[in-house]
Amino acid sequence: MSAAEFTTGRAYIAGAFEHPTRLATEQSIAQLHAEVARGALLDAGLGIGDVDAYYTADAPGLGPMAIVEHLGIKPRIVDSTDVGGSSYLLHVNHAAQAIAAGKCNVALITLAGRPRAEGKMTVASKFAGPDVGFESPYRSQVVSMYALAAARHMYEYGTTSQQLAWIKVAASTHAQHNERALLRNVVTVEEVVNSPMVADPLHRLDCCVITDGGGALVVVNAEIAKSLSRPRVKVRGAGEAVKHIYGGYPEMTSSAAAASGMAAFAEAGVTPADIKCACVYDSFTISVLIALEDLGFCPKGRGGQFVSDGNLISGVGKLPFNTDGGGLCNNHPSNRGGMTKIIEAVRQVRGEAHPHVQVPNCDLALAHGTGGWISSRHASATLILERA
């Protein structure tokens, strides 16, 4: 049996919930985990007693254990794979495989955090890997590590700041309809390129928001999915990959999305042309541009043209993207934007996105995440979701 035959069609996303807050001064991280878990289970029509697998990343405590206890779960499978913001897409991939193997039936995945309330700028690395000692005196930060990729992409392909700005313009055009979005004003290309430079060539408006809150998913087997009353969202394909610089040979204009996307599309047996809506990790505008090329929506190097002139705007362009406003405008909870990409893709496939951004007949959607540093070490995962 091939990998595709083994997994595809055996796992469904039955519950999806995005925490309404963007600033959580009164809730602890553990409480936020409980609130998003409850929200996703209610959405699915299931209870905590139904859950037999639990996935998270960066939860308080040792791996997943403290939150497993906090929520009262009795898991047969746990996984706290942490590769940064894309972790939750890997969790869906892992849950789908565990469900297909019969190791569990109802997987709960939660994300929660409160960097704004805690006054944190970005994810601080807790892990002193063997690489850190060679890099710490150079004061790299997340934004500068993405700026390096943007600079290289401009050098190799002539991509411009104006083209990158269109990505933010599209996200903001969608966010205006999202009453929970942190930033709801529609911006122009001029406003983006005139915003203060943070790390050349990335301006402030090329960067995502910092928000509190989180989200959760419930992934179930086919039998349970069919017994529930909500529209069914099948995990048709999933892939993940890690990319680094292979002993000092960086290749900054492409990412692990090329590999994770190829695996997901192969498993799903569809092509980029079949995708009606794409929810693509938007930590920075360059993250989106590189991913769209790698995933095959346009040729490598042509991302600038592809995203320009509203091509990512629902109802206007060919590939509606991040129709909730994305991390660029709506929500990037705990500096990990992967969960909200999946949640909006699920909404689209269910037909439950905001009417102004809902893609007609959205039978196939893609969610993609990049966690880590796109210019050096990072992990990507891609999911293809189908209305079933």
Binding site: F134, P137, R139, Q141, A150, G247
Partner: protein, 133 residues
Amino acid sequence: MTEQFQSDVPAPNVDLDNRVFWDAASRRELKFGRCCQCHKSYFYPRHFCPLCLSADVEWVSASGRGEIYSYTVMRRAERPFALAYVRLEEGPSMMTNIVECDFDRLSIGQAVEVVFVQSKSEALVPMFRPTER
């Protein structure tokens, strides 16, 4: 009374993985790694080859010449600085800073040479400056 110049450069955290590198830097030597089995050069230097996992590896002194692979200027720092990857003449690229330069006249592909910069402690840190100044 002369004002003490306080370096912005964090002192390196020396550990078992990197002490050979930082010890060499204190002697103004820039070390990279080379594998005696597969003959590839790599950075960061380590005890096993990251390409074939051989333990038969060397820590080699670089010429110090290279070119900018990519760079970005951190504008919002109190004193702006340039983060970069420099491709060493010997092949591999390393994370570093570009110093002794006009930030607005940097370019990808620009020829650079290593300099050893004082960090907040006594430790020297290899950085790069444009060869043509």
